[in-house]
């Protein structure tokens, strides 16, 4: 008959092997999947804006729908740096500057109903920050007490066509 401590160790190992390890593996894999899905959404949405030269509510709704498939809430920020061309200090020369002209945030509401036309050469940046924790992060925080920062993904592109 095994000693009592050995029984306890055996029970702990059984719990670890049969319950904890599969759960941790599954949620961690799920987190990687979430990051990839969110990245693909950001990439597609950035390219759509850059190609069309417009930020439309229709495209934004589709983007949010796809992003919603990750199962967590995201805050979306779209920044537009407009290209400005000024006369240079020397005659016959010019200066190019990018000026941040628009910052659209999803939590402010309604701003995405704009059909603001963009110009070729403007820079558009799409950023998303997770508002709640993934199951993997929750597990790490509640059991292992490892705190993680929110997931953050962003991508910028230059507008390819006038809107």
């Amino acid at each position: 008959m095994a000693s009592f401590p050995m029984k306890v160790v055996g029970a702990v190992l059984a719990v670890l092997l049969l319950i904890f390890v599969p759960i941790v593996t599954a949620v961690e894999k799920n987190d990687i999947g979430i990051e990839r899905t969110a990245w693909n959404c950001v990439q597609n949405y950035t390219d759509i804006i850059a190609d069309k030269g417009r930020i439309t509510s229709d495209d934004y709704d589709k983007f949010m729908l796809k992003l919603g498939a990750t199962g967590i809430a995201w805050e979306v920020t779209v920044t537009v740096d407009s290209r400005r061309v000024y006369a240079g200090s020397i005659q016959g020369q010019m200066e190019v500057r990018h000026v941040t002209t628009h910052v659209f945030k999803s939590d402010n509401g309604g701003i995405f109903n704009t059909n603001e036309p963009l110009r070729k050469g403007d820079i558009v940046t799409v950023s998303i920050v997770s508002l709640n924790k993934t199951s993997g992060q929750q597990l790490a925080e509640n059991i292992l007490k490892i705190w993680s920062s929110p997931s953050e993904i962003s991508l910028a592109a230059m507008v390819r066509n006038d809107g």
Partner: protein, 315 residues
């Protein structure tokens, strides 16, 4: 019995250990993979931004040669790249210099190289450790070669520029219509590609010779050579080539990537020039409502070179 149970316990422990190690490896690999994908995507879009900027600020001078300001392209490249990682500022912008040892912008009749210099002067062997490394673009370098005793400047589209001295020191200069791509002939696309790859290689060597303070040694990736030398990219118009190496903003892993973007010149859009309140402004003809304006040009860049600024009413 106790010994038997101990052996039984060791196996699950080992199993858990192996499982956790292999899973951590998988997670690290997956993390690295997504960082690489993000860096690649940022590099591609940045190169494309540099190309678009070059297209926008390009103009053709009275000799028919294409002029661009490559620094604007570099600024666009850097801004898009850093924006893709939600960062910016002077310090990070300065770090970018160390990640990009080679960048080249090829236009129809020549190319601009981004070269490393020491203390703002031209490159010197054995630069001191306290010297400041700077990058700057070269003057445009033509695709020139000697054919039949004559200097001929080739172009990407096959037309070629010739130049010779006629009697009494008169320089004759002209542009011939495009010719077919012939290896070793006046228009030799392969020779231009080889020249561009050679220029990139030269820049990498230059950066390595100058980086006595850095631990990174740069190299030209095999894939880049394959992409350019074996026609994955068609060099028929403006092209931007860029190499990123040792990028470590997101993790301690150093990521390497390269990107090439190629395109044609852009079509013109009419811009009107006018004066209001004693100030010179410009606006797109499609936006501009009053009927009176001074003149029409084909781009906002041309308007700016003529001393006009964007009209705040339309921008």
């Amino acid at each position: 019995m106790s010994r038997y149970f101990g052996i039984v316990v060791i196996f699950p422990c080992l199993l858990i250990l192996i499982y956790m190690i292999s899973f951590l490896n998988y997670k690290t690999a997956a993390r690295r993979e997504i960082l690489t994908i993000r860096a690649d995507a940022a590099a591609n879009r940045s190169t494309e931004a540099a190309l678009i900027e070059a297209q926008l600020n390009a103009h053709v001078d009275s000799y028919g040669t294409t002029i661009i300001n490559p620094e604007f392209s570099w600024q666009a490249y850097r801004r898009v790249f850093l924006r893709s990682f939600n960062t910016g500022g002077q310090k990070v912008e300065a770090m970018m210099d160390a990640w990009v040892p080679a960048m080249l912008i090829a236009v129809n009749d020549g190319y601009y190289m981004r070269m490393i210099t020491s203390d703002g002067t031209t490159y010197q062997m054995g630069a001191s450790e306290n010297s400041i490394m700077r990058y700057r673009f070269s003057q445009k370098i033509p695709y020139a070669r000697v054919i039949g005793g004559e200097y001929v400047a080739d172009t990407l589209n096959g037309s070629y520029i010739y130049s010779y001295i006629q009697g009494f020191g008169t320089q004759v200069r002209g542009i011939h219509t495009p010719v077919d791509d012939t290896v070793g002939g006046i228009h030799d696309g392969r020779a231009i590609v080889a020249e561009l790859v050679g220029a990139m290689s030269y820049m990498v060597e230059l950066a390595n010779d100058n980086n006595n303070k850095w631990t990174t040694q740069f190299y030209l990736p095999r894939q880049f050579l394959d992409d350019t030398m074996y026609s994955a990219v068609t060099f028929k118009g403006m092209t931007v080539m860029c190499l990123i190496q040792g990028f470590d903003l997101l993790s301690h892993d150093k990521l390497d990537t390269h990107s090439i973007a190629a395109s044609q010149m852009v079509t013109a859009k009419q811009v009107v020039l006018y004066t209001r309140g004693g100030k010179n402004y410009y606006a797109y003809l499609s936006d501009y409502s009053p009927d009176t304006f001074l003149t029409v040009v084909s781009s906002v860049e041309e308007a700016a070179r003529l001393g006009h600024n964007p009209d705040p009413l339309y921008y």
